[in-house]
C-alpha cells in the first residue's frame, strides 16, 4: 500500500512541477498530456521498470499525438473532458507495458530539430502559427485521399516487384 501512496505523491509531483512553468493550453493542447506523462512514469516504476525502460516509456508518451483542448471550450465543450484523463491513464499503462517488453525509446523526442515535440507542438501559440493557404488547411476529402493512397500503394508494390532486378534508385 505504501508503494501506491508513494506513487500517487510522485505522480502529483511530476504533474504539478511540469504544470508550474509549462502552459499546454497556449498551444491548444489539453493538459491531459501531463496525466499521461506522470502516470507513465509511476506505472512503469510500479511494474518494475529499469531506467532504460522508464525512459523509453516516457519518450513514447511524448511522441503520441496529444489531445486537442477543444473539448473544454465552446462550441465543443462536452463530456470527453470527463474521460480524457481515464484515456490518458490507460494509455500510460499500455505504454509502460510496451516499454517493459523491451521496446526501444525515442531519445530526442522533445528536442529533435523540426520533428521533436518542442518544434512541432510546443514552440508556437495556437494564435501565432502562420496559417497555411486555405485550400491546404484542412485534410483533403476522404475519397481523394483513398484514391491517392491506393495509387501510391499499388505503384510501390509494382516498383518493389520490378526493383529486385534493378540497381537501387539514386537519392535526390
Amino acid at each position: 500500500m505504501r508503494d501506491v501512496l508513494e506513487a500517487m505523491i510522485m505522480a502529483h509531483e511530476i504533474q504539478g512541477v511540469l504544470a508550474l512553468e509549462n502552459s499546454f493550453n497556449r498551444v491548444g493542447l489539453d493538459h491531459v498530456v501531463l496525466v499521461k506523462v506522470a502516470s507513465t512514469a509511476v506505472v512503469a516504476k510500479l511494474m518494475g521498470a529499469d531506467r532504460e525502460q522508464l525512459l523509453s516509456a516516457l519518450s513514447h508518451a511524448f511522441v503520441d499525438g496529444q489531445s486537442l483542448r477543444t473539448y473544454r471550450h465552446a462550441p465543443n465543450a462536452g463530456s470527453r473532458k470527463s474521460w480524457a484523463a481515464g484515456d490518458a491513464t490507460s494509455r500510460a499503462v499500455r505504454l509502460a507495458d510496451i516499454a517493459m517488453r523491451g521496446e526501444m525509446g525515442i531519445p530526442g523526442v522533445l528536442s529533435a530539430p523540426q520533428w521533436g515535440f518542442y518544434d512541432v507542438l510546443f514552440s508556437k501559440t495556437n494564435k501565432d502559427q502562420a496559417l497555411k493557404p486555405k485550400r491546404n488547411g484542412a485534410s483533403r476529402s476522404a475519397r481523394r485521399t483513398a484514391a491517392t493512397s491506393w495509387r501510391t500503394c499499388c505503384s510501390r508494390s509494382a516498383f518493389l516487384r520490378s526493383s529486385t532486378l534493378r540497381p537501387p534508385p539514386r537519392l535526390r
Binding site: 508503494d3 504544470a19 508550474l20 493538459h31 512514469a41 506505472v43 525512459l55
Partner: protein
C-alpha cells in the same frame, strides 16, 4: 552521403525525461504529511468514482470491448462486477473517478487534476494488497 541523408546518431535521452526517470527511481517519500494526504486523496477519489456509477452517461462507457470477455488475472473496477485487462480497467477507473468533476484542481501555468493518475494504480494496489495478505498468512 551526409548531404543526402540526415545523420542518425542517437543522442542521449532528453534531460527533462532523465530528470523524471531519476526522480521516480531514486526519490523516497519521507513526509508523513504527504503520505497522509495521499491516503485521504485515495479515499476521496474512490468516493468520487462510486458516486459516478449512478450516472448512465458515465456507466455506458464501462466494460470490456467485447461483451462477456473474461480476464482471469484482470483488474477490478471498484463498485462494479467488472474484471478487465489493465488497459481498459485503467480507462474505466479513470472515467468514473473524474466523471463528476468533484476533484481538486491544481492551478498553475497549466491547470489540471492530477489524481486521475490513481486509476492506473488500482491494479497494483490490488496486487500488492493480495501479496501483503499472502505474506501475512505465511507468517
Amino acid at each position: 552521403m551526409s548531404a543526402n541523408v540526415d545523420l542518425n546518431q542517437r543522442p542521449d535521452y532528453d534531460p527533462e525525461l532523465q530528470a523524471i526517470a531519476d526522480y521516480v527511481l531514486d526519490y523516497r517519500v519521507e513526509s508523513r504529511e504527504a503520505l497522509e494526504t495521499a491516503r485521504n486523496c485515495l479515499m476521496d477519489t474512490l468516493g468520487c468514482g462510486l458516486l459516478a456509477l449512478r450516472f448512465p452517461e458515465c456507466t455506458k462507457h464501462l466494460g470490456p470491448l467485447v461483451e462477456g470477455t473474461v480476464v482471469p488475472n484482470g483488474a477490478r473496477v471498484p463498485g462494479t462486477r467488472l474484471t478487465l485487462d489493465p488497459v481498459k480497467a485503467a480507462w474505466d477507473i479513470g472515467c468514473i473517478i473524474r466523471w463528476l468533476d468533484y476533484n481538486d484542481t491544481w492551478l498553475a501555468a497549466e491547470w489540471g487534476t492530477p489524481r486521475t493518475i490513481w486509476a492506473a494504480f488500482w491494479r497494483w494496489r490490488i496486487r500488492s494488497l493480495r501479496h501483503a495478505w499472502r505474506e501475512e498468512r505465511h507468517r
